[in-house]
C-alpha cells in the first residue's frame, strides 16, 4: 500500500459530504456478514475454527451525465486458528495480484488480522458509442459459470463463495458498441510484477446467440486466442468458451495450453434449476500446480484453470419454500479419482438478511498436495445487505 489508498478514500468521502444535498449524484450500497467456519484437514479430525466479519462498501459518483466514478472496498476482521496454524496466512490475505497495492493489514496478531482492500476504483466515461474505463475494474469476458477460459483478466476462484465480486485489475479499457448487442473492446492491465496483459475482443449477436472472439497477450508470456458463445437449445442455456495459450518463447513447439468449457442450464417450471459444465484441458506434460491447496485458493492466472484433463461440474438449486433455498454442487476429476461436493442452504430472514450454511467436501488423489486427500469445510454465514 499504502499511503496511496488514503487520499483516494478521503477524496470520495469528502466529495460525498459536500454533495449530500444532491443525493442522485451518489449511490451507496454494500453488505456486512459474519461467518463462522470449521475446517478439517487431517486424519485426526482436528477442527480448525475461524470467524470472519466481512464488510463491503460500494460507492458510485455521478457528477455529470455519462461520467461515473466508482470506489469499492472491503474490510475483513478475522480471528481464529488458521492464522495461528498456517505460516503467512495474514500476509497471504494482504497479497496483491494487481499493479497497485491497495490492500493493507491494518492490524495483525498471532490469531487475528484486520484487512482493508480496494478492489474497484475507476472512472468511466460514455461518449456516444464509446465507453472508456480507467482504473481498478473488473473486466469479465466469461460466458460459462464455473471455468472461464475467456476471462483472461481475472483470477478465478470458484470456491471463494464469500467474495462473488472477485478482485479487480488495474487496467484501461475502451469499448465501442457497433450496435445494440455488438461491441469491440481493447483492454490492457499490468499485474503486480508489472507484466502486461492486453487483448482485443469482439462480441456480436446472430441467430439468437451471443458470440465472442478474443486475442492478445497474457502476462507478457503467452499469446492467446479464444472464442465463446451463449445461446439456447430447446430452452436450455447453452454456453461455451475456448482459449489457447502459446508461450512466446517457444512459439513453434507444443508447450501450449488449451481449455474448453461447455455449459448447459435449465430451469423447470417449479423453479428447480440445474446446471452442468465440463472443462477439457490440454496441458503440456510438465504442467503442474503445486498442489490441491493452490487450486482451492484459486489459480493465479487463467492459464492455471485446471490440473486434470477433464473436470466436470453439476449443480441443482431448488427453493424448498420461497424463503429457503437448497443447492447442491459437485465436481468430478476423473484423472485424480477426485471429487468435490458443496451443499448450501440459504434462508431469507428478512428483505435484506440471509442465513446460509455452506459445506465443502473434497476427496481425491491430489498427488502434489502435502495435505491429506480428504478435506472438509463448513460455514455458517449471516449476511446483511444495504
Amino acid at each position: 500500500m499504502r499511503l496511496f489508498v488514503i487520499p483516494v478514500v478521503l477524496f470520495f468521502l469528502m466529495e460525498s459530504t459536500y454533495s449530500q444535498s444532491d443525493s442522485s449524484k451518489w449511490e451507496f450500497s454494500g453488505y456486512l456478514s459474519n461467518m463462522q467456519s470449521v475446517m478439517v484437514l487431517d486424519e485426526e479430525q482436528n477442527w480448525i475454527s475461524d470467524n470472519l466479519f466481512h464488510n463491503r462498501m460500494n460507492l458510485s459518483w455521478f457528477p455529470y451525465e455519462n461520467f461515473t466514478g466508482v470506489l469499492q472496498f472491503r474490510n475483513r476482521f478475522m480471528y481464529g486458528q488458521s492464522i495461528q496454524l498456517f505460516d503467512g496466512y495474514a500476509e497471504s490475505i494482504d497479497r496483491e495480484q494487481s499493479l497497485l497495492d491497495l490492500s493493507v493489514n491494518i492490524l495483525e496478531g498471532n490469531s487475528y488480522f484486520i484487512n482493508t482492500a480496494i478492489d474497484r476504483a475507476y472512472f468511466q466515461y460514455n461518449l456516444k458509442d464509446f465507453v472508456f474505463t480507467l482504473g481498478r475494474q473488473r473486466i469479465n469476458w466469461g460466458q460459462t459459470f464455473v471455468w472461464n477460459p475467456n476471462d483472461i483478466f481475472n483470477v478465478q476462484n470458484f470456491f471463494d463463495f464469500d467474495y462473488p465480486e472477485k478482485p479487480g485489475s488495474d487496467a484501461v479499457r475502451i469499448q465501442y458498441y457497433t450496435n445494440y448487442s455488438s461491441s469491440l473492446e481493447l483492454a490492457a492491465k499490468l499485474d503486480h510484477e508489472k507484466k502486461l496483459t492486453m487483448a482485443g475482443y469482439y462480441r456480436f449477436n446472430t441467430l439468437g446467440y451471443d458470440f465472442q472472439v478474443l486475442a492478445g497477450l497474457l502476462a507478457e508470456e503467452d499469446y492467446l486466442a479464444g472464442l465463446g458463445w451463449s445461446g439456447d437449445i430447446f430452452g436450455a442455456g447453452f454456453r461455451g468458451e475456448m482459449s489457447y495459450f502459446q508461450p512466446k518463447r517457444n512459439f513453434s513447439d507444443t508447450s501450449g495450453v488449451f481449455y474448453s468449457s461447455i455449459s448447459l442450464d435449465y430451469t423447470f417450471h417449479n423453479s428447480l434449476y440445474i446446471q452442468t459444465e465440463g472443462l477439457y484441458s490440454l496441458l503440456p506434460e510438465n504442467f503442474n500446480l503445486s498442489g490441491f491447496m493452490e487450486y482451492y485458493q484459486g489459480p493465479l492466472t487463467v492459464k492455471n484453470l485446471s490440473f486434470s484433463k477433464w473436470s466436470w461440474f453439476a449443480q441443482l438449486s431448488y427453493p424448498i419454500t420461497p424463503l429457503l433455498n437448497l443447492s447442491f454442487a459437485g465436481m468430478y476429476f476423473p484423472d485424480l479419482n477426485g471429487f468435490y461436493i458443496g451443499p448450501t442452504l440459504s434462508y431469507s430472514l428478512k428483505d435484506n438478511m440471509e442465513l446460509s450454511i455452506i459445506s465443502q467436501v473434497f476427496h481425491g488423489d491430489f498427488t502434489q498436495s502435502n495435505t491429506s486427500t480428504d478435506m472438509y469445510f463448513c460455514f455458517l454465514r449471516y449476511k446483511f445487505s444495504f
Binding site: N66, Y180, S230, G231, G235, G237, S271
Partner: protein
C-alpha cells in the same frame, strides 16, 4: 406457476371505450393500447404477503411496444442495480457487481422471484390477451358503483397460457377492469384480482394498484403498485441496448 402474469393482467386491467359499439375483442385491443401506450416508463413496487412474512421489490421499467423492455431493480439491496433487457425474443441480465452480462435462455425466464407470482418472463414478456384468447361479453354487473360488462376470455388451444378461462369486470364508462377472476383448466377459480387506486396519471386515468389473492390460500396476496407511470415517452429502439443496460440507473 400459479399466476400467469401480473403484467398480462395489467393489460387485462384496462379495457376501454364505447363498449356498446365494440366487440369484446376490440375492447381488449383498445384496453391494451390504453395501458401500454406506444411506450411507457414506470416505477413499480411489489409486495408479497404470506401469513408469516412479507417481501418487497421495487423497480423502474422502460418499454416500447411489446418487443423492447428494460427493467432496473432498485430493491432489495442484494439485487440493486441488476438490469434486465429484452429485445424481441432475446433477453439479457446485467450483474454490475461482477461486470457480467448473462444471456437468459427461455427456460430461465420461468424462474420466479421470491416465490412471488412473478417470473422473469412476466417482467418483460407480456403474453398476448388479444392473440391468445377468444373474447365474449357474457353479462353485466355493478361493481364499486360502476356499471361493468363481464367479459369471458377463453384461450386458444395451442396458446402458451396456463388459464382455462378468465372473467373480467370492465367499467362501461371508465374503460378499465375492476376485477378479474382466473380459472384453471378444470374450471376451478384460482385467483381473484382486484384493481384499485384509480388515478389520473397524466394523459389517462387507470387503476394503479393490483392485488391478487389466491382463493384457496388464507392470508396470501401479491400486490403491485405503480408509484409513477408515464405513457408515450420519447424513447428510441436504440435505448434498449447492452450499452445502455450497463449505464441506466
Amino acid at each position: 406457476m400459479k399466476i400467469y402474469s401480473l403484467f398480462s393482467l395489467l393489460i387485462l386491467g384496462c379495457f376501454s371505450a364505447n363498449a356498446q359499439e365494440m366487440s369484446a375483442t376490440e375492447i381488449i385491443r383498445k384496453a391494451d393500447e390504453l395501458l401500454q401506450g406506444n411506450s411507457n416508463y414506470a416505477e413499480i413496487s411489489m409486495k408479497i404477503h404470506r401469513p408469516k412474512w412479507d417481501r418487497s421489490l421495487t423497480m423502474k421499467s422502460w418499454s416500447k411496444g411489446n418487443d423492447f423492455s428494460l427493467i432496473y431493480i432498485i430493491s432489495p439491496a442484494k439485487e440493486k442495480g441488476q438490469v434486465f433487457l429484452k429485445r424481441n425474443n432475446e433477453m439479457w441480465n446485467w450483474l454490475p457487481s461482477i461486470d457480467r452480462t448473462i444471456k437468459i435462455p427461455p427456460s430461465m425466464m420461468m424462474q420466479s422471484w421470491m416465490g412471488s407470482d412473478m417470473t422473469n418472463d412476466d417482467l418483460v414478456n407480456e403474453s398476448s390477451v388479444i392473440k391468445d384468447y377468444d373474447h365474449k361479453i357474457v353479462g353485466e354487473e355493478i361493481l364499486e358503483g360502476l356499471e361493468c360488462y363481464i367479459i369471458e376470455l377463453i384461450p386458444h388451444e395451442d396458446a402458451p397460457v396456463v388459464w382455462g378461462k378468465i372473467y373480467s369486470w370492465v367499467s362501461k364508462t371508465k374503460y378499465f377492469a375492476l376485477k378479474n377472476e382466473y380459472y384453471d383448466e378444470d374450471d376451478f377459480l384460482v385467483n381473484i384480482e382486484t384493481l384499485s387506486n384509480i388515478k389520473n396519471v397524466g394523459d389517462r386515468t387507470i387503476p394503479t394498484k393490483f392485488t391478487i389473492v389466491p382463493v384457496d390460500k388464507e392470508d396470501h396476496y401479491t400486490e403491485m403498485e405503480f408509484v409513477n407511470i408515464k405513457f408515450n415517452i420519447d424513447i428510441e429502439e436504440s435505448f434498449f441496448s447492452i450499452q445502455n443496460m450497463k449505464k441506466i440507473r
